[in-house]
Subunit: 210 residues, 2 copies
C-alpha cells in the first residue's frame, strides 16, 4: 500500500477527509469535488489531490470523487477495514470517561482490556461489560486478548513504567494521555494527546494575536 515516503501530515489529513466524507454520506451526497471537500476541511484543494495521489487515483476527471468509494479507499489506506483492540491503562476520571466514550467504537476501535493499579478498582465492571484487571496482570492479559494499542491515562509519574510493560507485552502502538514524553523503542509508535499544550498554543495566540 505504501509507495513512497508519506508525510505524517498527509496521514492525519486523510483521517480528517474521511470524517468529513462520512458526514457527507449521511447527508446523501454521492459525489464531491476536491474544491468543496477542501473548503469543508479547511485545506487547499490541491493538497487533497496530492495527498490521495501518494496512494493512487481515486477520482474521475471532470466529475469528482464518489463519496462512498473514497471513504472505503481511505480506510484501506489507513488500515481501518478491520477492528482494532484497545487496552485502557488507568481508570481515573479521564480513563473512565474515555472507555465510556462512544467515538472509539464508532470508528472500529474496541476496548478488550482495562487495567488499574488501585486494588479497590480491580474486578469492577465497566459499562461496556469489561472487568478491570490489576496492572500486574497487564502482560498476560494483553497477549490473551490480542490487544493492539495501549492507551495510557495514568498519572504522569506512572506513564513510563506502563509504557515499558506495554512494550514488553508486544504492543507496538500507544496513545498517551499522560503529560510526559515517554521513551519507547523504535518498533513502537506513540501518539500523544496533551490538551494543556493545545491550551498553551491558544494562550499564545490570544496574547500576541498570531
Amino acid at each position: 500500500m505504501k509507495f513512497a515516503k508519506i508525510p505524517m501530515a498527509t496521514i492525519v489529513r486523510l483521517s480528517i477527509y474521511m470524517r468529513t466524507l462520512q458526514e457527507l454520506l449521511e447527508e446523501d451526497v454521492e459525489v464531491i469535488s476536491s474544491e468543496r471537500l477542501a473548503k469543508q476541511c479547511g485545506v487547499n484543494p490541491a493538497q487533497i489531490r496530492k495527498d490521495l495521489a501518494y496512494f493512487g487515483e481515486f477520482g474521475v476527471r471532470g466529475v469528482g470523487y464518489r463519496v462512498n468509494d473514497l471513504v472505503n479507499q481511505i480506510k484501506d489506506i489507513l488500515g481501518l477495514n478491520r477492528p482494532w483492540n484497545l487496552a485502557m491503562v488507568g481508570l481515573g476520571n479521564l480513563g473512565s470517561a474515555l472507555v465510556r466514550h462512544g467515538n472509539f467504537i464508532k470508528h472500529g476501535y474496541v476496548f478488550t482490556a482495562a487495567f488499574d493499579a488501585d486494588q479497590s478498582k480491580v474486578g469492577k465492571r465497566l459499562p461496556n461489560g469489561l472487568i478491570i484487571n490489576h496492572i500486574s496482570e497487564l502482560e498476560d492479559v494483553v497477549r490473551e486478548r490480542d490487544v493492539h494499542v495501549g492507551i495510557i491515562a495514568t498519572p504522569a509519574n506512572d506513564a513510563q513504567s506502563v509504557a515499558n510493560s506495554l512494550v514488553l507485552a508486544g504492543i507496538n502502538g500507544i496513545l498517551n494521555f499522560a503529560p510526559v514524553q515517554i521513551q519507547v523503542p523504535d518498533c513502537c509508535h506513540v501518539e500523544n494527546v496533551d490538551f494543556t499544550i493545545k491550551l498553551d498554543s491558544i494562550a499564545y495566540h490570544l496574547s500576541f494575536g498570531g
Copy 2:
C-alpha cells in the same frame, strides 16, 4: 514579543520544552545544554536553539541554559505568566472528567464557568465548587466571569452552535473535543483534540510499518 513569523510547530515545541524543564527543576537541575534537553524532548539540539532564537538569546555560550530562567522566559513568550479562565461546555463523561482533571490548574488554567444543555444538570455543583449553568445563559455568564477560552465537549452535532455562541460572547480561543471541524471567524483560534484521529495514525503505522 513576536519578532517574525513564528512557525506554529515552534510554539508547540516551546510548550514541550517548558514541561521538560519544569520536571528538571523538580529534580534540582540548574543548568542544561540544548543537547541534553533535546534528547529528553526527542528533537534535534539545533532545533531548540533556533526555536528560542526567534525570541531572543536565553542561553550562555559554553554553559547552557539556566533551567529556572528559561521556564520563565518561555512562559513570557507564550503568554503564560498570568491566569487564563476557561469555560467548559458539555458536562457529559468527558467534560466532567476534564473539569476534575488536575492538569489544567497545574498550568495556570482555571475553570470559571460550566454549561450544559440538560436542565437536570443545571444547578449541580462540580468538585471545584463551580455550579453548572444552562447553555442558554452562556453569553451572559461568559462575559460576567471574564472567560478567555471555551472548551467544547458536547456531542458532535452541537459543537458548531456552541462555537457560534462562544464567538458571539467575545471568545477568541476554543479547544474543541468534538470530532467535527468547526467553522469560526478569523479572530477566533481553534485547537482540536481528536483522539480517534491519533488512533488512525497508529493504525496506519501498525498496518504498514511506517
